[in-house]
Amino acid sequence: MDFEGKYNIKSPAVKRLMREACELKEPTEEYWAHPLDDNLFEWHFTVQGPPATDFEGGVYHGRILLPAEYPMKPPNIILITPNGRFETNKKICLSISGHHPETWQPSWSIRTALLALIAFMPTPGNGTIGSLDYTPEERQMLARKSQMLECPSCGKVVEQLSSSVSKPPTQEESSLIRQIALKAEEQPVEEEGENEEEQQPSEDKPVRQRLGVSQHLQPQSQLQHATVGVVSSTSDSYKNWLMWFLVAVIIFLIYRRLFLV
């Protein structure tokens, strides 16, 4: 990787990313992350499915898109490997649970993001945008299948994680990771140059999303997160229904007046 010639190394964002690349050079058994050879602002990563969950044995590959304002603005995570928890090819971003993405903190890093992703996988999706609530069987099946994945730019995904034990998260780090929530964006808002989004064609999604909501999930209940979006959209559709009902009543009354009098 020769980024020195390509980027302004005096720029704090570039300095920071080169530092992070250096910190994450050695893969651990939990994660592997690398900037692309020609783009310091796009990384590929692989994380291990958390043990003792439906994702055990899975290896999940994805992309990290870093905004030009990084670390002031959060990185976006995009999963490539089908996993049954997050939609693939959709931007997911980090925030403090129950808050907007603006609560991303510049002192978090790519490592924080990956650890948070691992910790967040077994939490209920609750129908939030970008979440999937597949059944445990489906997730276990996808976990097994995930080992076959090969990335055109990184090669065989399963070989990336190292067997060396990772630096365990410090106590502060784990309490921090527990506060983080991940949420997909409704739609890509800013164009990030060549980062074109392929939207997944999936007609069966709306049905499947709801499937596993009441299913048993792993005992990680401390990671329950508020899903403001869902609550408000339900009440919105109720209001919508009510509105149409009233419109129908009014139309009925007008008709009655016109034809019965």
Binding site: S11, P12, A13, K15, R16, R19, E23, E69, P71, M72, K73, I96, H99, H100, P101, E102, T103, W104, Q105, P106, S107, W108, S109, R111, T112, I129, T170, Q171, E172, E173, L176, Q179, E185, E186, V189, E190, V228, G229, S232, S233, D236, S237, K239, N240
Partner: protein, 284 residues
């Protein structure tokens, strides 16, 4: 299905005159069904942020208070206050209303003075150099704190060269370089958070609701673009031992712009003008 009405004309006007402050909530927003409100608000905010950054410098040029008088022409309450302010201050410098204005205004005004004040500079440099370890001890991730601290010290070391080798002009340029400028803001946010958490028993009284000081810091202090309240100013001025005088200009009864010193009883090194939701720099 997205149906967001952006009060564009309203926004443009206020951004140009600089009276909008950091208030980012836009009231006349309507949502269609099923749309995720959070996401829509975010999108709208991003649009507004973009417009703000295109119209206002991070830290502006020095200007006389006459500009302020023109701005409020016809508004009796404010005119009186501007008049009072003009008797006390010679000039001002506007900052971008992006939620970071207190931290940016404070650090600009203070470092500008350090260019000329060797003794105070030495005291501050010493304090700044030591601040990293105490943040790491409090549990901030060492790796990233180091990153912010390095850039912060780089700027301070430039200031230490004195006005002959590092002019006010160069400082101004650095503060308008988003990279450096935001790094300074982040580091001051961390120092503020550190102070709040170290002295959490005291600061707990200032926090409404049942949020802990640590939660408050994670949600309202450490993230960028979060507006500053009294509690931020009290904590930062205490952490650095630098006095701040804030002049309040609002719709209140008094014909004067009321001053509030943080911490009380200490000579104010930095003077800021507060208008609801926003801070600018004042020069006596």
């Amino acid at each position: 299905m997205l149906n967001v009405i952006v009060p564009r004309d309203l926004y443009d006007k206020t951004a140009l005159t600089g009276t909008m402050g950091d208030e980012k909530q836009v009231s006349s927003t309507t949502f269609d069904t099923d749309a995720n409100q959070d996401e829509l608000i975010m999108q709208q905010q991003r649009r507004i942020e973009k417009e703000i950054s295109e119209t206002t410098a991070l830290v502006g040029d020095l200007e006389g208070l006459g500009m302020l008088e023109d701005e409020y022409a016809g508004d009796d309450v404010y005119c009186q206050k501007v008049h009072d302010l003009a008797g006390k201050y010679k000039s001002m410098r506007r900052t971008r209303p992006d939620g970071n204005c207190f931290f940016r205004a404070f650090s600009y005004a203070y470092l500008e003075q350090l260019l000329e004040d060797r003794e105070e500079y030495e005291r501050f440099r010493d304090l700044a150099a030591k601040s990293k370890n105490s943040l790491v001890e409090l549990g901030f991730p060492q790796f990233t704190v180091e990153d912010f601290h390095d850039i912060f010290m780089e700027v301070i070391d430039h200031v230490g060269k004195g006005p002959t080798f590092f002019s006010q002009k160069e400082l101004h340029k650095m503060f308008n370089d988003q990279g450096y400028s935001d790094y300074i803001v982040v580091y001051l946010r961390l120092i503020t958070s550190g102070q709040l958490q170290r002295d959490s028993e005291f600061y707990q009284h200032f926090i409404e609701g049942d949020r802990s000081v640590a939660d408050f810091c994670h949600q309202e202090v450490e993230p960028m673009y979060k507006e500053s309240d009294h509690i931020h100013i009290i904590a930062l001025s205490a952490a650095l031992n630098v006095g701040v005088r804030v002049r309040y200009m609002d719709r209140g009864e008094a014909s004067e712009v009321i001053a509030h010193d943080f911490p009380e009883g200490i000579h104010p090194a930095v003077h800021l003008l507060y208008r609801p939701g926003h801070y600018d720099i004042l020069y006596p």
